[in-house]
Each structure stands twice: as structure tokens, then as C-alpha cells.
């Protein structure tokens, strides 16, 4: 297998672990915040290094140079491919921006060392393709939010029940599937269990209530970090997509589509800003799943593009909301707050990222949404209509929330509510990514299309009857996408 020039993956995973140990030993919260920010920045540099290095190699998959884990366990544990390569820097950026926008007044509520632990777990999950290891990492990643809920004295039953079921379904499904499962040879029950588990983690309706409950009870930052990296969709791609038959994928697409429309409708009637954000995110992540399960090159490429655009825009949207909440307390959406004059930068970021998430022209989400709708219409025209309807409702919900939070009245403040420099930098970075990705979309689209073809070709190798629509001459990945194949 092709090697990266440096052990970027191991560094990306280990740096936050070391940082977490360091931060946990610090008594001073301000110092902990600064160390945490520095560690997140170093992790982001490693993740970007991995992405650039991988892009320069021009291969489908690669593993670390001086792979320490491989030399110990004799297994390629950390391997990246075209699907996961951009997801690592995206995840690292999410953590850095979240930590950077955490106000000093909230330092005592937001656990920095557990944040670093969860960052390490996320990056390890994204850099890993072995099914059992993914399941273990996904299971362990549920612990930091649970600990926070316990620490805050909140009821954890909804979260524990759903996450317990999620882990049980994945374990049972993978145990039944065994290491030789492919899309041609796989027990139906195993596929169903894995699918149910991954969909539960993605919040597919009606198994989504844990997500709104988490946003109600955990800190906004923790909920944001647990939900927005879309590890549920990643689990679908790693555990279900390679082995599921086409009919199963299309069933997932229909369920996801129903969730997207339902969540968009629910976002419109929410009276609490966090619940609104949760439903908005749920609708978008479900749209990503719709495209992923279309199993057509254009639909899948669209979904991968939307994955990235939603990964940039909605965390930005959530962080803008979180920053406003950090100044005012939790926001309701049934009355106007009129905060524009006090926080014009946050208002601009809120609107811009919200519009980017719905695929507004000139923003990073535009082309991805176009591709997604195009792909959906190709398979079922009615699915395309439903995607357009969900997007339209999300658009209405975003602007409604903007008007409620930032306009409608004149807010009188006795304290300054300006953006801090760190927040301003975060805003600028997200705006540059949002607009830059929107104005120059071709490189991103090309890369995601290439990844989509590779994923589909892998499926067609294992399941020849689904190879229609994928050219034989296109460069195919030589090795398997999952650890199932690797362990054969």
C-alpha cells in the first residue's frame, strides 16, 4: 500500500491524546483553554498535512510512513482513502473552531480534556477502516457526552438507551456478518442490524429523539461536536455500503428522505434555538444519506460534496448560535431578540453559513445540492421533488431563525457583546471556506466524484449486477475499502 511521507494519521490521533492528558493536569481553566486551543491547532496542521500529502500521492488509499501501530499489531489500522482524506481536516477544524469560540465565562462548563479525547476518537474513527475497530471507537465516543450529562446532573436515560441500542445493533450485525461479508454474500439479518445501528446514530426518524435530547441537556459545544462530524454516515459508508444490496440502500434512502422532510418541517415550528439547530442539521445529514444510498455516480458525488459543505457550513452556523447564546443565554425562537446591532459579525456568519447549508448560489453548498438533486431525479423523479421541498423548507427556517435572533426589536445591553479576536478569526476562516468553495467548486467536485466512482466500483466488483453506470475503464481501487476485505 502507498505510504504517506510522514506519520500524519498517527500524529493526528496521538497529539490530542497527549494534549488531553496535559490539560487534565492543569488546574487553571484559562491555561487549559489556551493549551487545548494549541493542541487542536497542531492536530489541524497534522490533518491538513495528511490531506495534502495524500492528494499529492494521487492514489486511492495510503497509510502512514513509519507506521508504529502496524509494526506492533501487524495490521493496517490507520488507512485513509479518498472518502476519508478530507474528513480528517474537517473534523480537526471543527474542534479547533469550537474551542476557539468558547468564551472564558464558559470554561468551567466545557470540558477541554474530554473534548480532546473525543477529537482523538473521531480522527481515529475516520482514519480507520476495520469494522470492529470502527464499532469500538464509535462506542467509546459516546462516553464523553454521557460523562458530561452525568456531571451536569441531567437525566441520561434517553441518551443511554439509544446509544446502548446503537452499539448492540452494530456488534450483533458485525458478529453475524463475519469477516467475509460482501454485497453478494451476506446474511440479510446482519445487514439489517448494521443498517439499523448506523441509522440510529445518524438520527433517522423515528430514532432521532436522542439527538434533540442531547442538545437540550448537554452543553451546546459538546452536542455540536458529537453530532456534526456525521460519524453515523461514515459508519453507513464503511459498514453497510460495501455489503448492502441495492434494494437495501434504496430503502435507507427513502427512510432518510422521509427524515429530511420531517426534520425540515420540525425545524420550522421549533421554539428553542438548539432544537431548531438540531432539526436543521438532521435534515441536512439525512439529505447526505439520501445521496449516499442512491448508489449512482452523480448522486453519490453530490452527497459527498454536500457532506463537506454541510461539514463546513452547519458547524459554522451552530458556532454562531453558540457564541450568541454565550452572551445572552439560551435563545427562544417565538420572539424577536434584535441582537444585530451588538453582534453584526455573528449575524453575518449566521446568515451566510445558513444559506450555504441550503445550497445558496455562490456558496460552498450550491453545486453539491445541484448534484444531489440531479442524482435523485435520475433515480426517482419524486425523490428529487422531495429533496427540493426539504431544501426549500430549510431555507425558510434558516432565515426565520436569523430574523428571530438578530432582528425585530432593539436589544438594550449593559455589557459589550462584540466578537473576540479568536471569534473573528473563526468567522473569517469559515467565510473564506464558504465563499471560496462556492466560487471555485471544480477541484472539490472532481475529488468527490473520483471518490464516488471508486466507492461504486468497489461495490460493483463485489456485486457485478450493480455495475451499471460505472465505466469499466475508470481507475478502480486495487484494494478493498473495508477491513472485511483486508482481513480475507
Amino acid at each position: 500500500m502507498t505510504e504517506l511521507h510522514l506519520p500524519w494519521l498517527e500524529l493526528s490521533v496521538l497529539v490530542p491524546v497527549v494534549g488531553a492528558i496535559w490539560v487534565s493536569l492543569l488546574k487553571n481553566r484559562d491555561r487549559a483553554r489556551i493549551v487545548c486551543t494549541t493542541v487542536c491547532a497542531v492536530t489541524l496542521v497534522c490533518a491538513i498535512g495528511e490531506w495534502l500529502d495524500f492528494a499529492m500521492l494521487g492514489t486511492f488509499e495510503a497509510h502512514d510512513h513509519w507506521d508504529l501501530v502496524q509494526s506492533i499489531f501487524h495490521h493496517d489500522v490507520f488507512v485513509i482513502d479518498e472518502l476519508s482524506a478530507p474528513l480528517l481536516p474537517l473534523g480537526a477544524l471543527l474542534y479547533l473552531t469550537t474551542v476557539m469560540t468558547t468564551l472564558r465565562t464558559k470554561s468551567n462548563r466545557f470540558s477541554f480534556h474530554w473534548t480532546l479525547v473525543s477529537e482523538s476518537l473521531l480522527l481515529a474513527t475516520l482514519a480507520c477502516r476495520h469494522p470492529w475497530l470502527i464499532i469500538v471507537l464509535l462506542a467509546v465516543a459516546t462516553i464523553p457526552p454521557w460523562l458530561e450529562l452525568r456531571k451536569r446532573g441531567r437525566c441520561t436515560r434517553v441518551f443511554v438507551m439509544h446509544m446502548g441500542l446503537f452499539v448492540t445493533l452494530l456488534v450483533a450485525g458485525q458478529a453475524l456478518a463475519g469477516p467475509t461479508a460482501t454485497s453478494a454474500i451476506q446474511p440479510i439479518l446482519a445487514g439489517c442490524l448494521l443498517t439499523a445501528g448506523a441509522l440510529l446514530r445518524s438520527g433517522v426518524c423515528p430514532l432521532h429523539c436522542w439527538m434533540t435530547d442531547l442538545f437540550e441537556k448537554a452543553t451546546f459545544g459538546t452536542a455540536l461536536l458529537f453530532v456534526t462530524p456525521m460519524t453515523g454516515a461514515y459508519a453507513v459508508m464503511r459498514l453497510v455500503f460495501p455489503i448492502a444490496p441495492s434494494w437495501a440502500l434504496q430503502s435507507i434512502a427513502i427512510l432518510s428522505l422521509a427524515t429530511a422532510v420531517y426534520a425540515a418541517g420540525m425545524a420550522l415550528v421549533q421554539r428553542d434555538s438548539r432544537r431548531f439547530f438540531c432539526y436543521l442539521f438532521l435534515s441536512h445529514s439525512s439529505l447526505v444519506l439520501v445521496g449516499l444510498e442512491m448508489a449512482t455516480p452523480i448522486g453519490l458525488a453530490g452527497a459527498l460534496c454536500v457532506w463537506l459543505s454541510v461539514g463546513i457550513s452547519l458547524p459554522g452556523f451552530g458556532l454562531a448560535l453558540r457564541s450568541v447564546e454565550a452572551r445572552t443565554g439560551r435563545l427562544t425562537l417565538y420572539r424577536f431578540h434584535g441582537l444585530y446591532e451588538h453582534t453584526p459579525f455573528l449575524a453575518a456568519m449566521f446568515l451566510l453559513t445558513g444559506l450555504a447549508s441550503i445550497g445558496f448560489p455562490g456558496t460552498v453548498g450550491f453545486i453539491g445540492t445541484e448534484l444531489l438533486v440531479e442524482g435523485a431525479v435520475e433515480v426517482y423523479p419524486l425523490v428529487g421533488l422531495a429533496v427540493v421541498a426539504a431544501t426549500a423548507m430549510n431555507g425558510v427556517a434558516v432565515v426565520k431563525a436569523y430574523f428571530c435572533v438578530f432582528t425585530g426589536t432593539r436589544h438594550v445591553s449593559t455589557v459589550r457583546m462584540d466578537c473576540r479576536p479568536a471569534e473573528r478569526v473563526t468567522i473569517l476562516v469559515i467565510v473564506v471556506l464558504t465563499i471560496g468553495g462556492g466560487l471555485i467548486p471544480q477541484p472539490g467536485v472532481e475529488s468527490r466524484y473520483h471518490a464516488a466512482r471508486a466507492l461504486l466500483e468497489h461495490r460493483s466488483v463485489e456485486h457485478p449486477e450493480i455495475s451499471s453506470g460505472v465505466d469499466a475503464g475508470h481507475s478502480a481501487p486495487s484494494a478493498a475499502l473495508t477491513g472485511n476485505k483486508a482481513s480475507e
Binding site: L268, P297, G329, T409, V431, H474
Partner: protein, 462 residues
């Protein structure tokens, strides 16, 4: 230098000038630099004048050389060759787009000059001009678009800037609610537009108007699709146009849009934005020639909108609302003209009406002062219209009056039959979710139910 390269250069200047203006006004704001009012006004003036001069030069060259169709190809913005997916950036200068682009520059320039004085020292001065630049860019892109995707791009920019400008006075709830209403209507229209664009893609394999409307220059093209496909695409585009132009049943947003500052009301809802729907119909007018049912639909919608507009405008209590409905009447008539295939008449009507309405709306804040000045100049009271002697109104007349006064009950109808069932259904779902999480939690599960706004405010701490 060949004629083609000169036209190419001028075409790029026309499109680039509003884009550069938007960047020049937006980037300093983003970086935290506040430009002075004078600089913003001068930048706006420069952007509009450069664009206008370039478009007039193109018109002159086209008249001089007899060219009727000048495409400006910017290549593929995005393309996936294997899937034949192209997002083609193409602008077309023809007998339809050039007058509309010049009209956009002239009216935006007029309104920009007016607003620079009208909004002097207003807190939202910079915000107004930023949204104005966004609107101008949207209008130019829409009017010159050579593909349906490019038109959609501009169409969305116009929608967003319009909704934000309706909510310009955003420290009052009224304008904000109205801005949201406008945005909601626009989203519906946009959804219809997007579906039409996708359908067009599937039927013709491309979004290029030339492929759909035939190779001839506007208005000579002949649509290359069958009548049923034309009806399907045309109906969706008609819905999009109705939403954008405030035709029935979406007329409710038109008076609400008058909550914005007068300059934006004048240029958007009286002149340009309100005509964008009819412009779209003109652009796809070869479709109408293919399908008789589509023609009938267009004429019927235009007729209903014109009748409704004329009724409603007669009973409005303020000048801006009266002008808004008067605009609707004219838009309805223009739609009828398009339905009958009178394309040049419709284009001339549109340009004339846009200019007149801009003048009327810009003068509306000072109409009483103008009247008094006129009386002072004449030296006596002006007679005005002769008021008819009072007559007993029939039941039908009273009903008609109420109908017009309540603006055709259109808002109430949409609220009762669309919005309320929708919110009721989803609130019921929300209630069921609450019961479910309460059951799982063994008690009240939603903290947000108990929260009042700003309960944890930093200000309380302070």
C-alpha cells in the same frame, strides 16, 4: 483587435462591474473596516456607470454591425465530463437582454443616487448598499443569463436581497415579518424554478436556452420539445414567475414589501424585481408557442392578476400600496401580452412601466410637498379630480369593496389552508416527541420548556 474580442471584453465588464462592486463593499465590512458614506456612494456610482457604459457600447456595436445575438462564453464553472454534467457559464446579449440590462443599470443608478441622500446618516447605510449591490448583481446575471442555471443563480440573489431589504428597518417586528413572508414566497417560487431547470436538463440534456428555445435569436426561436413537455416546464416556470412578480395567488407580499425604504421599494417592487417573472416568461416565450394550454394558463393568470391589482389599488389608503397594486395590474397586462405572443409590445411595456413606477415611487414621500409647491407656483388651489356625488352602494359593490380592501383574502387563504395545517401537523408531532422522551426519561425531558429568554444572561451576572 477583432469585433468579437471587443464584444467579449465589454460583456465581461458588464457582468464584472456589479460583482466587483459587491466585493468592494462587502470585503471591508467583513474585515471590520467601515467605509465612509461618500466612498460607498462613489463606489456604487462607478460600478453602475461602468456597467451601463459597457452595455450601451455593446448595444451600439450590435446596432452598427447588425448582430442580434452575442454569446459571451465563460466556459464550464463545474463539469463532470463522464456524466455529461456541466454548469455552463454563458451570458447572452440579444434584443431582450440588452434593454433589460440597460434598464437595470439606469434604474439602479437613479435609485443609488437617490438613496445616497435619502439614507444619509442612517444606521443601516452600509447594509443597504451592500444589499443593493447584491441585487444589482442578481439582476444583471438574471437578465443576461444564457443558461437556466445561470438565470437561477441571479434569480436567487435577487430574492435574498429583496427579502433582506424589505426587513431593512429591522428593529421593528413588522418589516421583519414581511421580509420573512417575501422570502417564504420566493423559496416556493425558487423550488418551482429548480424543478423546471432539472426537467429541462432531462429533456434537452443541457440547460442552455438555445437548445430549448431553438437556435434563432430572440424572439425568433422555436422550442425543440413537444407540447406536453412544454406545458410541464412552462407551468413550473409560470409558478416561479407568479411568485417573483407577486401575481395571484402570491400577491400578498407585494404591499408588505413596501415596508422597506422607499428607494428599495421603487427599484425592486415597483420596477425591476416585480418584472423579473415576466422577463422569465419572455425569455422562455418560444415554449408558449408550442403549447396552447400553456398560453391559456398564462393569459388567465395575467387577467386575474390585472383585475385583482386594479381593484385592490383603488381602495388602498397609502400611496406606496396603491402604487404596488397598480404595478401588479400592469404586470398582469404584460403577462397577457406575453400569452398572446406580443413579445416586443410586452418588452416595451415592461420598460416603460418600470421607468414610470420608479419615478412615482421615488416622488411618493414628497408628493404632498410637491403639490403644495405647485400650488405656490400657480398661486391658487389646484382643482384636482371631481368627486362623484354619493350614491347608495349595491350589495355587490360592497362585497367588491371588502374583497379589494382585504386584498382578495389571499393572505388569509394561504394562512388558513397552507400555513396553519402545516404548523398544526408538525406541532402535533413535536408534542408526540415530547411525550415519548418524557416516557423514556421518566419525567419532564425538555429544559427548553421552562426557559425564558436570556435567563442565563451575562448581563444578569454583570
Amino acid at each position: 483587435m477583432t469585433m468579437e474580442s471587443v464584444l467579449q471584453f465589454l460583456g465581461l465588464v458588464v457582468v464584472a462591474s456589479p460583482a466587483v462592486l459587491l466585493a468592494a463593499l462587502g470585503l471591508p465590512l467583513l474585515c471590520g473596516f467601515a467605509l465612509s458614506e461618500g466612498i460607498q456612494a462613489r463606489l456604487t456610482k462607478a460600478g453602475v456607470v461602468i456597467g451601463l457604459l459597457a452595455s450601451v457600447a455593446i448595444l451600439g456595436l450590435m446596432l452598427a454591425t447588425g448582430l442580434r445575438h452575442v454569446p459571451i462564453e465563460l466556459g464550464n464553472w463545474v463539469s463532470i465530463e463522464q456524466e455529461h454534467f456541466h454548469f455552463h457559464l454563458k451570458f447572452v446579449f440579444d434584443r431582450l437582454s440588452v434593454p433589460f440590462a440597460i434598464l437595470s443599470f439606469v434604474l439602479c443608478g437613479t435609485v443609488g443616487a437617490f438613496a445616497a441622500v435619502y439614507l444619509h446618516r442612517e444606521k443601516g447605510y452600509a447594509r443597504f448598499f451592500l444589499q443593493y449591490a447584491l441585487f444589482l448583481l442578481g439582476m444583471i446575471v438574471s437578465s443576461l443569463a444564457g443558461t437556466i442555471e445561470t438565470l437561477f443563480f441571479g434569480w436567487e440573489l435577487v430574492g435574498l436581497s429583496s427579502a433582506l431589504l424589505v426587513a431593512y428597518f429591522h428593529d421593528r417586528p413588522g418589516p421583519v415579518r414581511n421580509g420573512h413572508r417575501v422570502w417564504t414566497t420566493y423559496r416556493l417560487a425558487d423550488a418551482a424554478f429548480l424543478i423546471a431547470a432539472l426537467t429541462m436538463h432531462h429533456l434537452t440534456g443541457a440547460g442552455d436556452f438555445q437548445r430549448l428555445m431553438g437556435a434563432g435569436p430572440w424572439p425568433a426561436g422555436v422550442a425543440a420539445i413537444d407540447s406536453w413537455s412544454a406545458l410541464a416546464i412552462g407551468s413550473l416556470l409560470l409558478l416561479a414567475a407568479a411568485g417573483k412578480s407577486g401575481m395571484v395567488p402570491f400577491s400578498g407580499w407585494l404591499p408588505r414589501a413596501m415596508e422597506g425604504p422607499t428607494p428599495s421599494s421603487a427599484v425592486f417592487y415597483g420596477a425591476l424585481s416585480v418584472h423579473l417573472g415576466t422577463y422569465l416568461l419572455l425569455r422562455v416565450s418560444p415554449l408558449l408557442a408550442v403549447s396552447l394550454p400553456l398560453q391559456v394558463l398564462v393569459i388567465t393568470l395575467g387577467l386575474i392578476s390585472a383585475l385583482f391589482g386594479t381593484l385592490a389599488s383603488r381602495v388602498q389608503c397609502d400611496v406606496k400600496n396603491a402604487l404596488a397594486f397598480a404595478s401588479l395590474t400592469q404586470v398582469g397586462i404584460i403577462t397577457i401580452e406575453i400569452g398572446f405572443g406580443l413579445r416586443y409590445i410586452a418588452l416595451i411595456h415592461m420598460i416603460g412601466h418600470a421607468c414610470l413606477r420608479t419615478l412615482q415611487l421615488l416622488r411618493s414621500p414628497s408628493v404632498l410637498k410637491d403639490y403644495q409647491m405647485l400650488e405656490d407656483a400657480v398661486g391658487e388651489h389646484l382643482g384636482g379630480d371631481v368627486v362623484n356625488p354619493a350614491q347608495t352602494a349595491t350589495g355587490f359593490q360592497l362585497w367588491l369593496y371588502r374583497f379589494a380592501m382585504h386584498r382578495g383574502y389571499l393572505d388569509a387563504l394561504l394562512d388558513n389552508w397552507v400555513v396553519r395545517p402545516f404548523t398544526t401537523a408538525f406541532r402535533w408531532c413535536d408534542g408526540m416527541e415530547r411525550r415519548w422522551t418524557n416516557l423514556l426519561s421518566g419525567g419532564a425531558s425538555r429544559e427548553s420548556d421552562q426557559l425564558a429568554s436570556f435567563s442565563e444572561s451575562l448581563e444578569d451576572v454583570a
